[in-house]
């Protein structure tokens, strides 16, 4: 799931739980879903490494992806 989607979903789950009007089993199910989502988002943020590609024009507008040395 994309980060912005995950954050929106997390916000929605949190708001729902904070209203506190769900049946308990449903609330616990949502809680688990929310925690898993938070952990996954955190993992994505932690694990990310920047990728840089270089696009050079080739014959007839063909696009080619080459690594770019960031260091």
């Amino acid at each position: 799931m994309k980060i912005e989607q995950a954050l929106a979903k997390l916000e929605e789950i949190t708001a729902t739980l904070e209203r506190g009007d769900l049946p308990l089993d449903e609330a616990i199910r949502l809680f688990e879903e929310g925690l898993a989502l938070a952990a996954d988002t955190k993992r994505q943020l932690d694990a990310a490494r920047l990728r840089v590609d270089q696009i050079v024009e080739q014959a007839k507008d063909t696009l080619d992806v080459e690594p770019f040395d960031v260091s």
């Binding site: 739980l17 769900l22 938070a38 943020l45 990728r51 696009i55 050079v56 960031v70």
Partner: protein, 404 residues
């Protein structure tokens, strides 16, 4: 054949001067300054050159002041006319105005273009497109050798490495730069990765000594930025001058690093907000669980089944009491009867027929009878009898009877 006219040196120089001054007239000339000489007279002599040629320039004292101190290497615009210095037959340029490139005429051209594009709506706020909050694919149109790309990569590595950066190389200075920038912007606009177009494109160059913003003031580049289907962030890297590209771009950043900062969220901030939400989740569910627990407890308190063991224990205790009461009935109420019973037992024990046997007496039965034998007449010869002793029995046959 006409007789050929013979010029004197003076006449030739004068004629050449006249030709130059009348046919060329006043012109603007651009060139790089070399060999500056300030004569004691106050006149200023210098050489202007480009890659292929050079010309001597003189600016006479009393003309408009030079806008900046001339230094070798500086690129200037000179306004004046070409002429011949007759006494020496030297071709030269007499400048009435000298100014660094970027000022004056160029500035006027810049203002004209700016006004034209403004009227066409290229700077309209309504055309500025919003930038995505969490960009995944960022294009960079810049020189592959300048600092801009490294600056952007450095910021993104720290701040938002979830993005992927695609470099569209283009020169950013010189004659070819505008055309290359337009081509690179076109490629960036068409680019897709796994079906997804760029979220935004940063177009710019590193800061530094370079004075030449011309490529970013080029009308073609401005129109390419306007036409780009992807939001464009300009990062021309100049604090003072604002380029035409800056006006057209959806967002203007002072430097490439700043462009990277402005267009991306901070990973640490997002991680913190995720952490805070997880905490809110815990609190929300904790609150609900606590309230369920309270309801449950009060329900249990209200119920008769609260602490069932104690109910049983109470009843067990009561039962124990009753049993002990019950047990006291024979021990106390029936004591006299028990005493009598014991007495009777003692008496009974005295009448036990086995007691005389202990002292050597014995009892004899006729075989098959249950009453003890008391009279000799009750047996006949040869009859079998059984004698019971204190220990054991004797079977015998009657051999003689004597009645008395």
């Amino acid at each position: 054949m006409n007789e050929q006219r013979v010029y004197t040196v003076s006449e030739l120089n004068r004629a050449a001067r006249g030709l130059l001054e009348t046919s060329l007239g006043d012109v603007w000339m651009k060139g790089e300054v070399a060999e500056v000489t300030r004569a004691p007279s106050g006149h200023l002599y210098f050489t202007l050159k480009d890659s292929e040629a050079e010309i001597d320039v003189v600016r006479f004292r009393g003309r408009a002041p030079v806008l900046a101190a001339l230094e070798p290497g500086m690129v200037v615009l000179a306004f004046g006319h070409a002429t011949v210095y007759e006494p020496r037959g030297r071709y030269q340029f007499v400048a009435s105005l000298v100014q660094p490139v970027g000022a004056g005429l160029l500035h006027a051209a810049f203002e004209r273009l700016k006004e034209k594009l403004r009227q066409e709506g290229l700077f309209d706020v309504s055309h500025k497109r919003p930038l995505p909050a969490f960009p995944r694919l960022i294009g960079v149109v810049t020189s592959p050798v300048g600092a801009a790309m490294h600056d952007i990569a450095a910021v993104l590595s720290r701040r938002w490495p979830l993005a992927r950066v695609v470099l569209f190389p283009s020169s950013v200075q010189g004659e070819a730069a505008p055309g290359e920038l337009v081509a690179a912007l076109g490629r960036a606009g068409r680019f897709t990765l796994e079906g997804t177009p760029l979220d935004l494109v940063i177009v710019g160059r590193g800061g530094g000594a370079a004075e030449d913003l011309a490529a970013f003031n080029d009308e073609r580049v401005a129109r390419a930025v306007y036409a780009c289907p992807v939001p464009v962030v300009s990062a021309v890297g100049h604090d003072i001058d604002v380029s035409i590209t800056d006006f057209v771009a959806d967002l203007r950043a002072p430097t490439p690093s700043a462009a990277a900062e402005l267009t991306t969220p901070d990973r640490a901030e997002i991680a913190e907000s995720v952490r805070r939400m997880a905490e809110r989740l815990r609190v929300a569910v904790g609150t609900q669980l606590a309230s369920v627990d309270r309801v449950l407890r009060s329900a249990l308190r209200a119920s008769l089944v609260r602490e069932p063991r104690r109910l049983v224990e109470t009843r067990e205790q009561k039962l124990d009491f009753l049993v002990s009461q019950l047990l006291r009935v024979p021990r106390e109420a029936l004591a006299p009867q028990v005493a009598r019973l014991r007495h009777a037992e003692d008496l009974l024990r005295l009448t036990d027929p086995r007691r005389p046997l202990e002292r050597g007496y014995s009892i004899t039965f006729v075989e098959g009878k249950t009453t003890p034998l008391r009279l000799a007449a009750d047996v006949v010869l040869g009859q079998r009898v059984e004698t019971v002793l204190a220990k054991g029995r004797i079977q015998s046959r009657v051999e003689g009877v004597r009645e008395e």
